[in-house]
Amino acid sequence: MTTMAEPPAPAKQRSTSPRARTLRRAIRHGGLIFGGAVLAVIVFVAIFAPWISPHDPYAQNLPNRLIDPFWGAKTDPAHLLGTDQLGRDYLSRIFHGARISLLIGFTTMIVSGLIGTAMGVAAGYFGGRVDDIVNFAIVTRLSMPVILVALAVVAVAGSSLTVVMAVLGCLLWDRFAVVMRAATRQVRDLEYVAAAQALGMSTWRIVASEILPNVGGALIVVATLEMAHAILLEAALSFLGLGVQPPTPSLGLMVSEGRQVMFFKPWLITIPGAALFLLVLSINLLGDGLRDVTSPEGRG
């Protein structure tokens, strides 16, 4: 028997698994850490909003309306971010607004992610007719303006959180499909996939155990970016009155409602605007950071 001809220590210095290496790179990436930290705070706030909100976000208190936030002129320590035209505590509404945004973001990301990934991986792996059909679907979808489709759906089904989630979930899968298709095509031609096929492995199993783990990096990046995309779209739809209805505290809706007193009390729109900005920024930083960290070198 040929005795072991090479000592176990590899010539290169790396002695950790791909996962450990990725983790090490992640810790050093400034954008990823900052984005991740801010997002973690927002998620915490959103989850525990009912318990940490100082007031009920729906509770109207007309004598106390339009109080300034703590840096303004007419302040009240009980309302750190002031109150809106109906006297509702703004801080509490922001907390709950973040909740709505994140709920929309996650749900849409998962629904559209499932649809888009399934289509993209199928197109990338099977090629041929399947690829043609998926490409046609993508092109058709891209020629549809999201806002107008939302308008049409709302006209039929009424506007609500559920309708928004359904519309966005069914429309935002295109980037998933495109990216997953490209990633799958790259992986499909590698020899370990051919080895699995030569093994007689079933197609499902090949996709699950050989393809998906190796396109996971690309998927995570697209998922975070689409989540931010969905949040902004929901804000836009609610702003236009096509999404969440009052008195639900959606950040977009809060901006819309604040328009009436925009010139007297500008913070009514700047605070929810800033909250949206911070949320989307942190998600994008996280997504960029993940992309950098899981780039080809991280794939061993």
Partner: protein
């Protein structure tokens, strides 16, 4: 006009990494005379490609290069500003790379690229450039040169593209061509044709050739002189005849034992092997780089080993260089 065209002394290339400095080339010296073919042979990671890039001044930005002497035709080029180096490149020193598809710009025709090479260094005008391009295409064995001038790289096969690369390297009549694995990506019959062509051209024009390869067969057939590289150092030099007939360094011997050769190795019998792996070049190595894999290693090998001369133009980086390994006695120089 000196006889030594390229003189390299104590060339070092280091690359800073996250976990230390990679000393990829650790002090190598060699000469190339006019009309001579020097083959630098070694396996992956030995530093041979970086050596060629270092000589041409084409190292990536983060790599650091130092050398006691880096002289071309008697003139020191180690400290030349990039502008002056660029004028030398293509004009008097040319390089041929391994992958002809990526070295040729897919967006321009062969003719455009050949002419541009000429016009970058000469002021003779486009007509002269085109004439020279056609002449060279024919010289490298491309039939229908007129038609080929208007074609794009993707319309040519790998072998043809590599011939175009050779023609391009010759456009300005260089004195020295450095070829980094020029035939590794080609089929064997094409490889034979390209090498045959290079030898013919060398004879015709009096070209000097530095050929970098891992293929010992190529080295044996093409080289006048050979430098064997291992772990960033040259471990043995000599003429092709000397190296193959009487390899002195244990690594060279090991390499030659590994290669199956029809008529020389017995089919079905185990080939020689070199156990172990190349040591890491990050940080400093304070012993012979080959010690852990060497069948003749002993305590004297636990320090940096210099190159020992064992004859004119013959050097070996091994403490046993001038000693018979069995008896330990000094032997007559090879």
């Amino acid at each position: 006009m000196t006889d030594t065209l390229l003189k390299v002394e104590d060339l070092r290339v280091s690359i800073p990494l996250d976990n230390g400095t990679l000393n990829a080339v650790r002090g190598i010296s060699f000469d190339v005379r006019r009309g001579e073919t020097l083959c630098i042979v070694g396996e992956s990671g030995c530093g041979k490609s970086l050596t060629s890039l270092a000589v041409m001044g084409l190292l990536p930005k983060r790599a650091k290069r130092t050398a006691t002497t880096l002289a071309f035709d008697g003139d020191e080029i180690g400290n030349l500003p990039e502008r002056r180096m660029a004028r030398l490149r293509g004009d008097r020193m040319a390089m041929i790379f391994q992958e002809p598809m990526t070295s040729l710009n897919p967006a321009y025709t062969i003719g455009d690229q050949l002419e541009e090479m000429f016009l970058a260094h000469r002021s003779d005008g486009r007509r002269a450039a085109r004439a020279r391009a056609l002449d060279l295409l024919q010289k490298v064995g491309i039939t229908g040169a007129e038609r080929r001038m208007g074609q794009y790289p993707h319309q040519l096969s790998g072998g043809l593209r590599q011939r175009v690369m050779i023609a391009m390297a010759l456009m300005c009549g260089p004195d020295l061509i450095i070829a980094d694995e020029p035939t590794t990506a080609l089929d064997v019959t094409i490889q034979a044709q390209i090498l045959h062509l290079l030898i013919e051209l060398k004879r015709e024009i009096g070209l000097s050739l530095v050929l970098i390869t891992h293929d010992l067969g190529v080295v044996a057939r093409v080289a006048d002189r050979v430098a064997v590289m291992y772990a960033g150092e040259i471990v043995e030099t000599g003429t092709a005849q000397e190296i193959f007939a009487n390899p002195q360094h244990p690594y060279t011997r090991g390499l030659l034992d590994c290669v199956p050769a029809p008529g020389m190795t017995k089919p079905g019998e185990p080939l020689g092997t070199i156990p172990g792996v190349v040591p890491s070049l990050i940080g400093e190595l304070t012993e012979c780089a080959f010690r852990e894999r060497c069948p003749l290693a002993h305590d004297a090998c636990r320090r940096p080993i210099p190159l020992y001369p064992v004859g004119p133009g013959r050097e070996v980086r091994c403490v046993l260089a001038d000693r018979d390994e069995r008896t330990g006695e000094r032997r007559a120089t090879a």
